[in-house]
């Protein structure tokens, strides 16, 4: 049995319209699992069900072999870092961090050692007597973290903990979280809608959409081989070219787009595909490369016309048109001259195949 298990859980805020239906999730000990998805996808509902703020209407919640399904939140020994930090405004930093230890009737002496240790861990030593109102955003975040880990929780839940910080602090805290996780070895479930955050932190990512798991895999697999159009879209496969499948060569498919031949990986998950079927090619703007006019007859190329280009410092964003289809490219440095024939090439490995019918059933990214 996994360390944390949600077994066929139905949960939500109104009885007749649950957010999660027959939802199952397994988290192994020591994992840092990210629940990734847009707002309303059910990631926070999952978190609140594990925390015990929402009771599962059906199914079971098991942590470390104990049935948590009906256990009130205060008996669960789960640390939570809230999006708004939810610090106790009337208590000093020390008392905030000591709160959970006092509830556990830890001796005074041990409390002061453990609080000091936790504050040192998040580099807040010296601020014990401050009230939360007198801390910066980053410091509040650290107090929230110290408060949650000092109780040595069986599980640490983080609900978009970095979303209220500015970009620079966010990077810093991300590094710190990764360090803490390694140092303490706590099992963490991390809720976020930011794919960069999820990719850089997690040992595993679960992408959710409308209460359903779209894909559960390592960050690399999620990034490179999205299993569904939804995940692909979420992971930045912003370009879609329509075409027709011509033939299947083992694990490769040949697709014709406006009379041009494209090779790419066949459908993920071993789904059936037949010649003549309408498909879409999904790929990222960064995977679009400009090739010279001589490259016109090379594999996977397409003649395009430049509609606009936006210089963005380290890169340039190009709006391209090919026939009646549009695509965008992000290229490093200089952009080829806009006049004359332009050709772009997309590596077979960068393309994701998506059947149109499949999209209309499984894709909910609209």
């Amino acid at each position: 049995m996994a360390y944390v298990e949600l077994q066929s859980v139905t949960a939500g805020y109104v009885a007749h319209d649950p957010v999660l239906r027959d939802f199952s999730l397994r988290v192994e000990r020591g994992e840092l699992l990210s629940l990734l998805g847009p707002s309303g996808c059910g990631k926070t509902t999952t978190l609140r069900t594990i925390a015990g703020f929402l009771l599962a209407q059906e199914g079971r919640v098991v942590v470390n072999g104990r049935d948590y399904t009906r256990l009130p939140p205060n008996k669960r020994n789960i640390g939570i870092v809230f999006q708004t930090y939810a610090l106790f405004p009337h208590l000093s930093v020390f008392d905030n961090v000591a709160y959970g230890l006092r509830r556990r009737r830890v001796s005074r002496q041990e409390i002061s050692t453990r609080v000091a240790g936790a504050l040192e861990l998040v580099s807040l030593t010296g601020l014990e007597e401050r009230l939360p109102a007198h801390l910066s955003g980053g410091q509040r975040q650290r107090v929230a973290l110290a408060r949650a880990i000092v109780i040595e929780p069986d599980l640490l839940l983080l609900d978009e903990p970095l979303s209220n910080l500015d970009a620079k602090l966010r990077d810093e805290m991300r590094g710190e979280l990764a360090r803490l996780q390694k140092q303490l070895g706590i099992t963490m479930i991390y809720v976020t809608h930011d794919q960069v955050e999820a990719l850089s932190l997690s040992s595993r990512i679960v992408v959710m959409n409308q209460g359903v798991i779209e894909q559960s895999d390592t960050p690399q697999a999620i990034f490179e081989r999205p299993a569904t159009p939804f995940v692909a879209h979420f992971m930045g496969f912003d370009n879609a070219l329509s075409g027709t499948c011509r033939e299947i060569l083992g694990d490769r498919a040949v697709v014709e787009v406006s009379g041009h031949r494209f090779e790419c990986r066949a459908l993920p998950g071993g789904k059936e595909l037949s010649a003549g079927e309408a498909v879409r090619l999904l790929f990222r703007p960064v995977d679009v490369r400009f090739v010279g006019a001589d490259g016109a007859d090379r594999l996977n190329t397409l003649p395009v016309r430049m509609e606009f280009s936006n210089y963005q410092g380290t890169s340039t964003l190009c709006g391209l048109v090919s026939g009646d289809q549009r695509l965008t490219a992000v290229v490093d440095g200089a952009v080829p001259p806009a006049d004359g024939d332009l050709h772009v090439q997309i590596e077979p490995g960068a393309i994701l195949l998506d059947t149109v019918t499949y999209e209309s059933v499984g894709g909910k990214d609209g």
């Binding site: 205060n74 809230f82 106790f88 009230l131």
Partner: protein, 276 residues
């Protein structure tokens, strides 16, 4: 923005209201205060206050008024805290409906509201009928014109004020803070006292101030439910002024009433937590 409005404009906007209140509020009060200190032929003196304060009846009434306030206020706190907690956590629609019911005693004519208690507490009233039916008493118990009746009437009047103040204080306590306490091992009961109560303490002090001073100055409730048998400061003052035509005594009582409320007002402010 201030530059767009010269001082003259500010004076023009504030002027009419200020003048009105100076004339028809501040001046009469000042006049009464001066009159209470002035005795013909002797000049300014506190002798009138001495006369009133040393009067046995006044002392009894003053103490009774304080006693009533001291009973009503904690009762209001005890009943309001859990009620306000639940109300503050309701979704907006249901909260709005219940709150508009809570304020009903505040909005209804005090005469109509208090008259209802005559019907409730009279010899033939519903309370007497009930306790007789339950065998608690064989004879009707006299409840009208007692301190108890005044306490019940004032409690109905001031519970809504306490509830309103506490609800708005608790609405400012994010639910997540409470959840944080639960996740750290507090039971709901424990979290209520460790988190909700301290964070709504300022509202509590505000509510206590309003209810306590309100009890001391309320008129209609003690007038109807206490009558001339059980006098409070306000009904005593009215009796002196309009029945006995002893304006000097009424004036002194009025000033004592104001001074008492001001002392309470400022005294209770000391309990307000300092700004974080």
């Amino acid at each position: 923005m201030n530059r767009l409005h010269p001082r003259r404009t500010l004076a023009l906007l504030l002027g009419p209201g200020v003048v009105f209140l100076l004339f028809f509020f501040a001046a009469p009060l000042l006049f009464v205060l001066i009159e209470s200190l002035r005795v013909p032929d002797t000049g300014v003196t506190l002798s009138r206050y001495g006369e009133v304060i040393t009067d046995d009846q006044f002392a009894a009434v003053y103490l009774r008024t304080l006693r009533i306030a001291l009973i009503v206020t904690p009762l209001a706190v005890l009943l309001s805290y859990p009620s306000a907690y639940l109300l503050s956590r309701l979704p907006h629609g249901r909260k709005s409906i219940l709150m508009s019911l809570v304020i009903l005693p505040l909005m209804t004519s005090p005469v109509a509201r208090t008259y209802a208690w005559i019907v409730m507490l009279g010899r033939q009233g519903i309370v007497n009928k009930t306790i007789q039916a339950l065998g608690i008493a064989s004879e009707p118990v006299r409840m009208m014109y007692t301190e108890g009746a005044i306490i019940v009437g004032l409690l109905q009047l001031f519970l809504p004020i306490m509830v309103l103040t506490l609800v708005s204080a608790m609405e400012n306590v994010p639910e997540e803070v409470e959840e944080a306490a639960l996740s750290l091992g507090s039971s709901r009961f424990d979290a209520f006292f460790r988190v909700i109560v301290p964070l709504s303490f300022e509202g509590l002090i505000m509510g206590v101030t309003l209810v306590f001073t309100g009890c001391i100055t309320a008129y209609v409730t003690p007038a109807i439910l206490g009558g001339s048998r059980v006098l409070t400061l306000s009904t005593l003052m009215r009796q002196e002024a309009l029945v006995l035509m002893n304006w000097e005594a009424a004036t002194v009582i009025a000033v004592i009433m104001v001074v008492t409320t001001l002392i309470l007002y400022n005294g209770l402010r000391l309990f307000r937590p300092r700004e974080a």
